[in-house]
Symmetry: C2
Subunit: 201 residues, 2 copies
DNA sequence: TCCGTATCGGAACTGCGAGTATCGTTACAG
DNA sequence: CTGTAACGATACTCGCAGTTCCGATACGGA
């Protein structure tokens, strides 16, 4: 179960020239930029090294293969979280949560991030598990939101929680995959309404 | 705008050895099998030719590149439609429609098909447009289902139709991408309930 | 019947990129 | 100082995927 192949042991070295502490992050940053831009198969290790301003050997001294490099690069991207909203009503919480998600995927970075996560998840199970973990952290927040609303009596207790917390993410992925426009902030009220009321008259 | 590079003109040839009429379909069949199994990047033209029992030149005589071959192979897969349900109630229609979709993606072929459609759509815009067209045909059926229900007064007239017809597909794609189990037939009632009622108490 | 042509399967060719090895150089530990 | 290991650069091997070439073959037309 390979972890960050770098960053783990290098502190112990006493002999010889020490590793430049910034080089690791320069390489992973260059790698993730190129991955976001082109995807794994169209990114070459030479390009990554050139963009990071290092030699190819310096890359391979840290990660034994391109796959491991890609994994490390992706790892650094799945760190930031969405804030948890707690406004006191389910409408308020959903509006805030959906709003921040929609705002994110409507940025250039957000869209690339989504796109690349999808593609690389299918290509490599290790990256899929990174994306899955990130997704599940977000879902856990939504789950708590719904549970608070159930306690307040705003939401039925017998809902299928998985669907409730997952459907919006699914819609975004589906739109991205089929090349159709993502929802915008103007759509947030409709998204909230759909979650709450469904479609019945 | 290249169409099926094969199948178009070959009827007119009088001179020379005629093309074996079965070769086209043998190649596209082999290609789509391998694409479903491994995806574009991990499929080689050698393999396709070997599996079809033809020489590699025979492949390239028909399609100028691997991309064109993949496009042709995919094209033949996006033909079959889901039947349109019209039971008289929105519950009945949704249960039937969702049931046939869920049944399909729970087969081996269906899952591969979904997975490969996602991956290839991101990789190649031409294939994306095939998948988008197929998706939109399915959505059009769902749209009519909802419109009938609106006329019957079962469904509000002001719903956001796009979300209503897309959310389930999105959920499936999301589950597939994140490597989590797809809904089963047992989940159909919950899926229908979510569509109709949302989560509100 | 025999020639020209376009097909066939198989084999050769080409280019590219991952990964390795080797430079001379450099920064630090002892 | 001296030894060691990292450094950037470069050249290399090697596998393999895409593409093209080749001798053989099958058919239409004269």
């Amino acid at each position: 179960m390979p972890e960050q192949d770098s960053l783990a042991a290098p502190a112990k070295r006493g002999r010889g020239r020490p590793r430049d502490p910034e080089t690791d992050s320069k390489i992973t940053r260059a790698a993730s930029e190129l991955l976001l831009l082109r995807g794994f198969d169209k990114t070459t290790v030479d390009e990554v090294a050139a963009r990071a301003g290092v030699g190819k050997a310096t890359v391979y001294r840290r990660w034994p293969s391109k796959e491991d490099l890609a994994f490390a690069a992706m790892q650094s991207l799945y760190s930031d979280e969405f804030p948890e909203a707690d406004t006191g009503t389910i409408e308020g919480d959903l509006t805030a949560t959906y709003g921040s998600i929609i705002a994110f995927v409507n940025t250039e970075t957000g869209a690339s991030f989504l796109r690349m996560s999808i593609m690389e998840s299918i290509r490599d199970e290790r990256i899929a598990s990174l994306y899955r973990a990130s997704t599940e952290r977000r879902e856990e927040i939504a789950r708590r939101t719904f549970e608070r609303a159930i306690e307040r009596g705003e939401v039925r207790a017998d809902i299928n929680m998985d669907m409730a917390v997952q459907w919006l993410g699914g819609l975004l992925i589906m739109r991205e995959v089929t090349g159709r426009p993502l929802p915008t902030l103007d759509d947030v009220p409709d998204l909230v309404a759909f979650t709450l009321r469904g479609i019945r008259a």
